[in-house]
């Protein structure tokens, strides 16, 4: 739950010129030179691939029970073994990935859209609107994230889309802050002044001049938040407040498996490893992108 640890301070508009404007496309090109990003992208392609192709790759239906093969060890019949009900762990993990990725992508998309709108509008308008929006975000930040999400679930009732909403709401202030910073900087630039002077409408200025400048930090933030959203979804499901059965969920699988650790560790071990793999993929890419945007994070060896 270390999601919002990277918080961006409001930059000083007077020191604006240093703002690195790297467009997402060139960002991807630079990222291909970083081994970390390449490894991360391969992992992500793999995870996304098996999630999409789950119906083709699954060796058994995800909910099919094999009463005589309960707690089968990993082997040729059941690639990763079976659980308490004799369900094939490999097939369930594939479908679990579908749930994880679906929830993560939808919740981050929700937070990205709402949060960026808040952040850009607050930063561009300034004054009372800015104060009102950002103080509201501060108060959202004042709640411990997991507790806030749990509260949303209790009010709305557990389910896939509640999970999306719960995680999304928690992430809104993060994107609002990420979008507001660069907006404040760009707002002061001469070309924005000029655009205002020739009478362009705010909407058009925001679309043409502000959005291209905030899109890169938001993109990087989204990558990192996809990683934490997967952890978040699995934690909620583990607590019984996220994805509900019969939908397969990796967190729920660990929760079921941990009751029988002494009988067979595999039903708890493999779904957990699957979570780690997906989260690590997003973290590797996110970390590499952050380094590109903020070269100060890179160690230099020339001086050593």
């Amino acid at each position: 739950m270390s999601s919002s640890i990277q918080e961006s301070d409001t930059p000083d508009p007077k020191r604006a010129p240093e703002l690195a404007v790297i467009r997402p496309r060139s960002l991807t090109r630079i990222a291909l030179r970083s081994p970390k990003a390449v490894v991360g992208m391969i992992v992500l392609l793999l995870v996304a691939g098996v999630a999409v192709l789950a119906p083709l790759l699954a060796t058994y239906p995800a909910t099919e029970m094999h009463a005589i093969d309960r707690f089968a060890p990993p082997g040729t019949t059941y690639l990763l073994g079976t659980d308490f009900f004799g369900r094939d762990l490999f097939s369930r993990i594939l479908y679990g990935y579908r749930t994880s990725l679906l929830v993560a992508v939808l919740s981050v998309a929700f937070a990205l859209v709402i949060g960026s709108v808040f952040g850009v509008v607050a930063g561009y308008t300034g004054g009372a609107v800015d104060s009102a929006v950002m103080r509201t975000m501060d108060i959202l930040f004042a709640f411990p994230v997991l507790l806030l999400a749990i509260t949303v679930v209790v009010i709305l009732g557990a389910g896939l889309f509640t999970t999306v909403l719960a995680i999304g709401i928690v992430y809104v202030p993060i994107f609002a802050r990420t979008a507001r910073g660069p907006t404040l900087v760009v707002r002061e630039h001469a070309y924005v002044e000029a655009a205002k002077a020739i009478g362009l409408r705010s909407f058009r200025i925001i679309r043409r001049h502000i959005l291209p400048n905030v899109s890169t930090p938001i993109f990087v933030q989204a990558t990192i938040n996809l990683a934490t959203a997967i952890l978040f979804e699995s934690a909620l499901s583990f607590l019984g407040l996220g994805t509900q059965p019969p939908y397969p969920s990796l967190g729920l699988m660990v929760s079921e498996g941990r009751n029988y650790l002494e009988l067979s560790p595999w039903p708890a071990v493999f779904p957990g490893l699957a979570i780690v793999l997906a989260v690590l993929g997003f973290n590797l890419v996110g970390d590499a992108l952050q380094e590109i945007l903020d070269p100060r994070l890179r160690q230099t060896w020339s001086a050593a």
Binding site: P144, V269, V276, W301
Partner: protein
């Protein structure tokens, strides 16, 4: 500095006010009638329902209800549990020490792990060592706490039998047994936070590396370890303090998961049980207490930060 402290303390009032409104609304937003929950769903006698509503003050306007609720909370009365009939204040006082000990223990472990790892990564001249450390901390950030907890139990309690499972004697009665019992849960909670802090220590050290005062210290002929300890770490650790504050807050939330994995009777587990049992007054109190603690911890850390960093202190 006094002005800053005063400002921060004043800001606390609106934040706590909004939190209280949100927590109060929680009871009203949850689907279902609290009076019906208390009576049990079999009992549909309208007279009894009305009586319970009157007892709870549910027949009054919402702002009156809020005022009365806030008055009670401020005087230390958190209500009674619908399930056990016991005062919630007493229940929280029983559970809170477990959660606080877990969180403090975890912060200590996280710092003990993170500062050496981050220092090594931030000062080493070996690209391999830094890269390895960076990858390991990234892995640490990718681990779900509930799974790490389960794996620790599997490895250290089930297979190696080094640590007892599910025994949490009081700290004062049996300090050693207590620290032993809490070790695995605290370590579970510490792992991702240690990774986050280690990365921050490293980044912070890398940024002070080229500072003039570090060059001067080296030029004076100070030993490398002295340069790192006295000149680099001392300055680099200041921003890390804020992160430790954020982390301490996350520990309060994260402990919900860890308490569940290790069956620790703390506040988080109490809240989860309250959800399952529909004991909403208890849930309300848990949300209120944990959020208030989170806000206070963050305030405390901000104040410590100001105290540590003279640039802010005298600004």
């Amino acid at each position: 500095m006094q002005r800053y402290v005063a400002q921060r303390l004043l800001l606390l009032i609106p934040v706590l006010f909004v939190i209280s409104v949100v927590v109060f609304s929680l009871m009203h937003l949850i689907p279902g009638d609290p009076a019906q929950v208390i009576l049990g769903f079999e009992n549909t006698d309208p007279a009894q329902l009305a009586a319970v509503r009157r007892d709870l003050g549910l027949d009054r306007p919402v702002y009156v209800q809020y005022g009365r609720w806030l008055g009670r909370v401020l005087s230390g009365n958190l209500g009674t549990s619908v399930r056990t009939g016991r005062p919630i204040g007493a229940l929280i006082l029983e559970a809170l020490p477990f959660t606080l000990e877990l969180a403090i223990y975890a912060v200590v472990l996280a710092i003990l792990i993170a500062v050496p790892v981050g220092t090594l990564a931030g000062t080493t001249s070996s690209r391999l060592a830094d890269g390895t450390m960076q990858t390991l901390t990234l892995l640490g950030l990718s681990l779900p706490a509930f799974w790490v907890g389960a794996m620790f139990i599997l490895l250290f309690s089930v297979h190696l039998r080094w640590f007892p499972v599910l025994t949490f004697p009081a700290l004062l009665d049996a300090p050693l047994a207590n620290l032993r019992g809490f070790f695995l849960p605290a370590l579970t909670l510490a792992v991702p936070n240690a990774a986050a802090i280690a990365r921050m220590v490293r980044a912070s050290l890398v940024s002070v590396r080229r500072e003039e005062y570090v060059k001067v210290a080296r030029a004076k002929g100070l030993s490398e370890s002295l340069v790192v300890r006295r000149h680099m770490l001392k300055n680099a650790l200041i921003p890390v303090v804020t992160l430790i504050g954020i982390v301490a807050g996350y520990l309060l939330g994260g402990s919900i998961v860890v308490e569940q994995v290790f069956a620790i009777p703390g506040v988080g587990r109490m809240g989860l049980q309250a959800i399952v049992q529909r004991d909403y007054p208890v849930l309300q109190a848990v949300v209120l207490i944990v959020t208030a603690l989170f806000v206070l911890v963050n305030l405390l850390v901000d104040l410590i930060y100001v105290f540590l960093d003279p640039r802010i202190r005298y600004a």
